[in-house]
Symmetry: none
Subunit: 198 residues, 4 copies
C-alpha cells in the first residue's frame, strides 16, 4: 500500500472512531454527519469524500467494531488455558474493551432496521462469529466436565446481555475500578456454568 493509501486508510479509521463514539452515545439517528465531522475538525463534505453516505459510514463502523472485537478476544481464545480461565479472560477482555471504547454493539436501533441485504448479512455473520467463540468456550468447558450441561445458546445470551448492560450503568466515579468490576461480573457469571462453585 502506498503512503497515500495508508494516510487515507488512517483518515477513514479516524472518522470511524469518531462515528462510533458519537453513535454509541446518542444513537444512530440522533447522530448527524456534522457531529461526526466537527469532532474531527472536518467539514461534512470531507466525510463524504471517504464514505458514500451515512449508511455506508455506519456499516463500515459497525464492521470494524465487530472485527476489532473478534481480533480482541482471539488473543485469548487460541491460548492454551483451561476452559474456565479462558472464558473468564474472554469475558474480561470483552468488558474492558466495551468500557474503554465507550462503544457498545448497539446503535440505538435493531440491525434489521439499519441495514439491508448484504450489509445486514455481513453484520449478522460477524456477530455470529463473535458469539460462536463464546459458545465454543462453553462447549469445551462442558466436554471437559468443568461446566454443567446447560443450554449453550441461552447461557451465552445471558452472559452477553449481562456484560453489555454495563455500558448503561457503568460510571468511572464508582467505588470499583473498571477491572475490578469486570472480574467480579465474570466471577458471578461463571457461577451459572461451573459445576462446583466454591
Amino acid at each position: 500500500m502506498s503512503l497515500r493509501q495508508k494516510k487515507a486508510e488512517k483518515k477513514k479509521e479516524e472518522i470511524i472512531q469518531s462515528a462510533l463514539s458519537i453513535i454509541s452515545e446518542k444513537g444512530y439517528h440522533a447522530t448527524t454527519m456534522e457531529d461526526i465531522a466537527a469532532k474531527l475538525l472536518m467539514t461534512k463534505g470531507s466525510v463524504y469524500y471517504y464514505f458514500k453516505d451515512k449508511q455506508d459510514l455506519l456499516f463500515e463502523s459497525q464492521k470494524m467494531l465487530l472485527e476489532q472485537s473478534i481480533a480482541n478476544i482471539e488473543k485469548v481464545v487460541f491460548e492454551d488455558l483451561p476452559p474456565v480461565e479462558k472464558l473468564d479472560a474472554t469475558m474480561i477482555i470483552h468488558m474492558e474493551y466495551l468500557i474503554s471504547e465507550r462503544t457498545g454493539f448497539t446503535m440505538g436501533a435493531r440491525p434489521e432496521q439499519l441495514f439491508a441485504e448484504e450489509q445486514l448479512n455481513d453484520i449478522l455473520e460477524l456477530r455470529e462469529k463473535y458469539s460462536k467463540y463464546f459458545d465454543d468456550l462453553i462447549k469445551q468447558g462442558i466436554e471437559d466436565g468443568e461446566f454443567m450441561e446447560i443450554d449453550i445458546r441461552l447461557v451465552r445470551n445471558i452472559i452477553l446481555g449481562a456484560m453489555n448492560y454495563m455500558i448503561d450503568w457503568y460510571s468511572p466515579k464508582g467505588s470499583k475500578s473498571k477491572s475490578e468490576l469486570a472480574e467480579a461480573i465474570s466471577n458471578y457469571l461463571l457461577r451459572i456454568l461451573i459445576k462446583d462453585p466454591k
Copy 2:
C-alpha cells in the same frame, strides 16, 4: 372524572401504547409523530391535542411503562413467599412483560440524552424504584441465608442486563416458548445467588 375526561384518558393511553411499541422497535429519533398516529388511524395533528410535543409524549410513555412495570412486579413482591421463589417469579414476570409488550426500557438513547431536569429525575426515580425491588428481594434472600453474600447492585445489574437482552434475540419461532425461556433464564440467573444449587 367526567366521562369526557375518561375518554380522553383512554385515548392518551392508546397513543402511548402506539408510541411505546414503535419507539421500542425503531428508537426514539427514528420514530415520527406520523408513525405513531398512523398506527392508530389518526393524523398527527390529533396527537398534539393530547400531548404538548414529542418530548412530552415520550416522557409520559416512559413514565407509564415504568409505572406499569412496577405495578406488575408488585403483584408478586408483596406476596408471602420464600425469597428464591419470589425473585424467580419477579424475573419471570419481568421477562414475560418485556416480550409480550415487545417493549424494552431502552429508547435508542440514554435517558440523559432525552430528558432534562425534572423529567429526567422522575424517570430515574422510577427506574430506581424498580431496581430497588430487585435489590430488596436479593437482600432478603441473603438475610434468610439462602443467597450468598454478593454485591447486590452488581448482581442486580447482571440480572437486569441478561433479562433485557432478550428483546434483542428473542424470536417467537424458536424451539422454546416465551414462558419456557423465561423460566430457564431465571433458573440460570438464580445460580449466581443461591448458596447451594442442586
Copy 3:
C-alpha cells in the same frame, strides 16, 4: 369529490403549472423546488405536502402536459373534416398551445434519463398516443388520395420536430403574430404531404 379534495386538486395543478413553466424555461436540473414554490409564494415544505419528491412532481407535470395536449387535439381530431383541413387544424392547435403555455415537451433531458420503469412507460405511452393521432391523420389523407404515399412515421417526426422547434426561436416581438406563424408553418409542412400543392 369533496370541496377539500377539489381545493387540494387545484393546488396540485397550480404547482404543476408553476413547475412546467420553470422547467420548460430552465430545464429540469436547473429548476429548484425553491424556484417552483417561490413562484407561488409557497415554501418548499408545502410543495412536499402535495408531491412525494421532485421526481414525482416532474412525472405528474409531464403526464398532465401530455394529457392536456391529447385532450387539446382531440377536439379537432374527432371532428368531421377533410384530412387536409384536419391535419392543418391539429398542427395549429399544437403550436398555439406550445407558445401560449411557453411549455415544450422537452425537459432538458431525455425521458430515459429522468424516468424509470413504470413512470417511463406511462410517459412513452402518452407520447405514443399523441403521435398516433398525427399518424392517423396522415394515413387518412393518404387513403383519401389527398396525400402522397410517404413514410408516415418519418414525416410525422419531421412535422413534430419543426413545430416544437418554435419554442426555441419564437419571440412575441416578431413581425408575425403567433397565429400567423402557426398557419404559415402548417401550410409549409402540408406541402410535404399534399399531392398537388398549388
Copy 4:
C-alpha cells in the same frame, strides 16, 4: 505552436469531445465535471488545468461544435452545384454529423440561461452564421427560380427543427440506416421549397 502546446491542444479537444457527448446525453446541469473526467480516465482536478471552470468548458465546447459544424457544411456550400443539390447535400451533412457525434446543438437549456455577455454573443453569432448558410442556399434557389417565394427565415427554422429532432427519435436499430434517413428527410423537406416537385 510548440510540441507542448500541441499536446495541450489535443487534450483540450479530447475533454471537449467528452463534455459534448455527455452534455448532449444528460443536459448541462446533470453533467458533472466528474462525469466528463471519468470518461477520459482523468480526475476532475486535471480538467481544471485545461479549463477555467465548467462554464468555460461549456463555452469552448459549444464554440468548437459550432465551428466544426460550420466548417463541415462549408465543404459543400462553396462547391459549384445547383441550389437544390447543394441544399440537399448540406442537410444531409448536417444530419449525419448530428447522429454520428450524437451531439445536438441543444444543451438542455436556452443559451440565454447558460451564457452571458460576450460568450452569449459569440455563440449567437456562430449560430447566426450557421443559419445564414441555409438562408443563403434557400435565397439562391429562389433567385434561380427553382424554389418558391417563401419566408426564408421561417422555412429555415422548419428545416433545422425537423433535422435536429432526429436526435430525439433516431435509433440505430431502426430499419433504415442513418444515411437513408438523412436522404429521405432531406427529400421531404425539399418539397416545401421546390416549385414543381415530381
